[in-house]
């Protein structure tokens, strides 16, 4: 199980890119933290989540 934005999900074995695509996130508008560390964009395709990981996807909207 992987915690995604506080919710336990069956996501182990998936890449960050897969998680973003499958959950409707625009990769150009997010920052992704894995276990409180930023995931560099260059690693979205290769970083594979494992049991016990905690992922926080911050999705930005426009306005300022």
């Amino acid at each position: 199980m992987v915690k995604l934005n506080g919710e336990q999900r069956e996501l182990s074995g998936k890449t960050v890119t897969e998680i973003l695509n499958e959950n409707g996130y625009d990769p150009k508008r997010v920052a992704v933290e894995l276990n409180l560390e930023i995931v560099p964009k260059s690693q979205y395709d290769s970083m594979i989540l494992k049991d016990g990981d905690s992922v926080e996807v911050v999705s930005f909207v426009g306005g300022g």
Binding site: A31, E33, I38, V58, S59, F60, V61, G62, G63, G64
Partner: protein
């Protein structure tokens, strides 16, 4: 005649206490984007007596900015970096204010933000916000980053909050009110979000890092 540096400093010390004012005066903050968020954050930090402020924006003051941004009609057409620096020097004549007229991107951020321990993300474009946050967290994991997302429209001000996302990353806003979603940006609600950012910056400087 404006008051002397010593007179202004001691007035701030009376309000904030000696120790807190010393911390404010010794701090340095860079504000990235000088629109509704950045111009309001800058005014709050200058008034609190933050010692060094660096202002970055590539754009000029437009008539469409006047509904929410801290510019005057007689500043239309000026670079925001110049216009806001002028206003802040009237508010806080002894604050060390510097500015750059430049568009930040992945390649220049490591150089242009290197000198500042606290960074405010105050852009308006969602992709630009994500770019700045990703680049700063990747290159400068030790710096404090206070960003904002979700403050458009006229929803309740009570839905705007500050969240601590990671050790050195705070995010203010309601997280979802997009500028494209109907009503645009309205002065008071953008200012609430900017005040969340400025409050978090001052809390960090004071030594309190919880949101």
């Amino acid at each position: 005649m404006i008051p002397s540096k010593e007179e202004m400093y001691s007035a701030l010390e009376e309000r904030h206490g000696k120790e807190l004012q010393r911390r404010f005066a010794e701090s340095a903050v860079v504000i990235c984007g000088l629109g509704g968020l950045g111009s309001n954050v800058a005014v709050s930090l200058a008034r609190a007596g933050v010692g060094k402020l660096h202002l970055i924006d590539f754009d000029k003051v437009d008539i469409s900015n006047l509904n929410r941004q801290q510019y005057f009609p007689d500043q239309l057409g000026q670079y925001k970096s110049d216009a806001l620096a002028d206003t802040l020097r009237r508010i806080a004549p002894y604050c060390d204010i510097t500015s750059r007229t430049v568009k930040l991107d992945e390649s220049n951020i490591p150089e242009l933000l290197a000198d500042f321990p606290i960074i405010c993300e105050c852009f308006d474009n969602a992709e630009q916000k994500a770019m700045l946050v990703n680049t700063v967290l990747e290159y400068f994991p030790g710096k404090k980053l206070v960003a904002a997302s979700g403050m458009a429209g006229l929803g309740s001000a009570n839905t705007i909050v500050t969240r601590r996302i990671a050790k050195n990353f705070w995010l203010c806003g309601d997280g979802k009110s997009d500028v494209g979603g109907g009503l645009g940006l309205i002065s008071a609600r953008v200012a609430v979000c900017a005040a969340h950012q400025a409050t978090m910056v001052l809390r960090i400087i004071s030594g309190e890092e919880e949101a």
